[in-house]
């Protein structure tokens, strides 16, 4: 089971009300390479992967939920108290018409989240390579959002999340090595 802790993984700060940035950030909330997809992908793969790497998938999958909460916090802060007029100007008029200020699992272009974002091949190497690719894609998405954002506080949190993708990718690469050399793992140490 899981436990909630009343704490963000990283202190998220946002400089100003800026719904346009929220529109882009939604990509990492409900997009193909977003945090929801990541969490569900890794936790779901655990049931069909060698025991040696179940711990890693559990721990990275759980961390992704902490990242999902950080993204939600950013969107919440960027749009909180924004007027319908401001939402409209930010390109969120269609969102407002359907959801008011509610968050919704969709990508930056408004497509709702779908399970097809998640691959589960049941082959350990195929699945771990999928995970490495997912981390690199998420890292790239953070880069593109940072390139468009001029909010220094927000960028600080986005850089944190981008670095976490680098670390996750590293650990998944190590998991591949562990599965490759299962018989004589000692050679690494």
């Amino acid at each position: 089971m899981w436990f909630y802790e009343k704490k963000l993984q990283y202190p998220v700060k946002v400089t100003e009300c800026n719904p346009r940035l929220a529109k882009y950030l939604i990509e990492q909330y409900g997009g193909a390479d977003g945090e929801l997809s990541a969490a569900l992908r890794y936790l779901n793969q655990r049931y069909t992967i060698p025991d040696k790497v179940i711990g890693l998938l559990t721990d990275i999958g759980t961390e992704e939920f902490a990242h999902l909460e950080m993204i939600a916090t950013m969107i919440y802060k960027l749009t909180k108290d924004a007027t319908p007029e401001q939402m409209k100007e930010a390109g969120l008029g269609a969102h407002y018409a359907n959801h008011d200020h509610a968050l919704y699992y969709q990508n930056a272009a408004g497509s709702p989240w779908t399970a097809t974002y998640i691959a589960a091949k049941g082959d350990p190497i195929a699945d771990l390579y999928e995970d490495i690719a997912a981390e690199e894609k998420a890292r790239a998405t953070y880069q593109w959002i940072i390139n468009m954002s001029d909010d220094p506080c927000l960028n600080d949190s986005l850089k944190f999340l981008r670095e976490r993708e680098v670390i996750h990718s590293q650990r998944f690469r190590e998991a591949v090595e562990i599965l490759k050399f299962e018989k004589d793992r000692k050679q690494f140490f």
Binding site: Q143, I146, N147, K159, R162, E163, V166, I167, E174, E177
Partner: protein, 73 residues
């Protein structure tokens, strides 16, 4: 060789409508080079680690990385 960013010069033609971007760059983060992380590597102090996004200097990849003159991501 490990460098955090690599650049190249994309082809551009005389009739390209947008002003050409003569140098394009892409990131090559340290996880591509480290291999299986050796034990006992240096760590950041805890206060710093949170703001770097990692305990491990060997895996820290600052962004945006400074790119050469005229370079564009």
């Amino acid at each position: 060789m490990y460098t955090p960013v690599k650049c190249y010069h994309p082809y551009y033609g005389p009739y390209d409508p947008c002003p050409p971007c003569k140098t394009k760059c892409y990131q090559t983060p340290p996880n591509l080079y480290l291999g299986f992380q050796p034990m006992n590597l240096q760590q950041y102090p805890l206060q710093e680690a949170l703001y770097k996004g990692t305990l491990w200097p060997c895996l820290y990849d600052p962004y945006p990385t400074p790119v050469p003159e005229g370079g564009k991501r």
